[in-house]
């Protein structure tokens, strides 16, 4: 009998509670360290993005190169804040809490996505993943990535009340008022900066260093962080709302999101440790009936009637 079959047979004899205990014991091994790589990533990425402005304005860097680099920075801007949203860098009351909050606030500046709004809505996403009424990320569902990205672009329209606005209105989070205030301030500063630059003769720079890269960054993030790991967003529940999948562009270019299921099960495991955690937890998770889509094309899903119709 092979090792895998052995492990499967051993696991299948266990009760749900025993499996959960074993699962949690394994997962705990991957929690608790400070993910310094995310601190460097978050603050470093912000500084690179910030440096593009003087480099382009001084003529050291051509605008087209600034645009490409800024788009990459915007795509990289979310995940360090995401780590901070889950207090992975430091929990409340810990010595490095200030750093957790600094990374959380600073890293998403290129995206104009305030930390507290991101955190409140992300917590709701975890609580209600794939629920059309309550999951703020449900706006990014769709039969393929470009329809998901287009749907999310429509959701982001300032005149629409998208799922994020709805979530912020409905939440009873004690930080809601502060988050609203930060959201308003962020919008005003972003628009004020774009307008001031544009009317000073730097409209192309403003458009290509911030406005357009931000939309490109969001499109990337929606595709790889929201749509792909949850596609087709028809199932809910701990082991079914997120899937294990194979990215057509590989693990690095999809920022580890093939292992996003580990994050949903154990949000305090640092991003860089989710592949290791997956390998350790895989036999138990298969036994638990997780969605294993590794053999499917990333856009396919056998239970997705919308995709079949399209």
């Amino acid at each position: 009998m092979s090792v895998v079959t052995d492990a499967t047979t051993r696991l299948s004899r266990k009760t749900d509670r025993e499996l959960l205990r074993e699962e949690q014991a394994i997962a705990r091994q991957f929690m608790g360290r400070v993910p310094w790589e995310m601190v460097v990533w978050g603050l470093g990425n912000f500084l690179v993005w910030l440096s593009l402005w003087p480099l382009v304005f001084s003529g050291t860097l051509p605008l087209w190169a600034g645009f490409v680099l800024s788009s990459i920075c915007c795509a990289l801007a979310y995940l360090p804040s995401h780590e901070a949203q889950h207090s992975i860098i430091a929990k409340e009351g810990e010595k490095l809490r200030w750093l957790n909050e600094l990374v959380g606030h600073v890293s998403t500046i290129p995206l104009v996505f305030p930390y507290r709004i991101a955190w409140i809505t992300h917590r709701m996403h975890h609580a209600y993943a794939n629920d059309p009424e309550h999951d703020p990320d449900f706006g990014s569902h769709g039969p393929n990535w470009w329809r998901a990205a287009y749907g999310a672009l429509k959701e982001r329209q300032p005149m629409n009340e998208g799922m994020y606005e709805k979530t912020m209105k409905e939440t009873d989070d004690p930080n809601r008022d502060r988050a609203f205030l930060e959201g308003l301030a962020t919008k005003v500063v972003h628009f004020g900066t774009l307008s001031a630059l544009a009317w000073s003769g730097y409209a192309l720079e403003a458009a290509l260093l911030w406005w357009l890269p931000r939309h490109i960054g969001f499109t990337y993030l929606i595709t790889f962080l929201s749509w792909a790991p949850h596609h087709p967003m028809t199932e809910t529940g701990r082991y079914r709302d997120t899937r294990f999948w194979k990215s057509p562009v590989g693990t690095v270019l999809s920022m580890g999101m093939e292992f996003h299921i580990i994050h949903h099960l154990y949000p305090r495991i640092p991003l860089f440790d989710t592949p290791k955690a997956w390998r350790a937890l895989e036999p138990i998770l298969m036994e638990r009936g997780i969605r294993d889509d590794r053999d499917l094309d990333w856009s396919d899903h056998s239970d997705d009637p919308e995709a079949e119709a399209a």
Binding site: K154, Q157, F191, A198
Partner: protein, 67 residues
């Protein structure tokens, strides 16, 4: 808090028009200048931007979306 919510609502409601004036108008003008495209009827490019930008903003406001 009410004031903040109201502020967000008004900003959101007129955001497209403000965006058309504040950002799109000079962006259109400077893009035309960079591409050496002349505005119709001998208009300065910024005047053309100030017609097209806010008009697009009003259309977006009425449609409820830019896209």
């Amino acid at each position: 808090m009410k004031l903040i919510t109201e502020g967000i609502r008004v900003l959101g409601e007129w955001g497209a028009v403000l965006f058309g004036i504040g950002f799109l108008a000079p962006l259109i003008a400077q893009s035309m200048d960079a591409l050496e495209i002349a505005a119709p009827f001998g208009l300065p490019t910024i005047a053309f931007g100030l017609i097209v930008g806010p008009t697009a903003g009003v259309v977006a406001k009425l449609r409820g979306s830019w896209v």
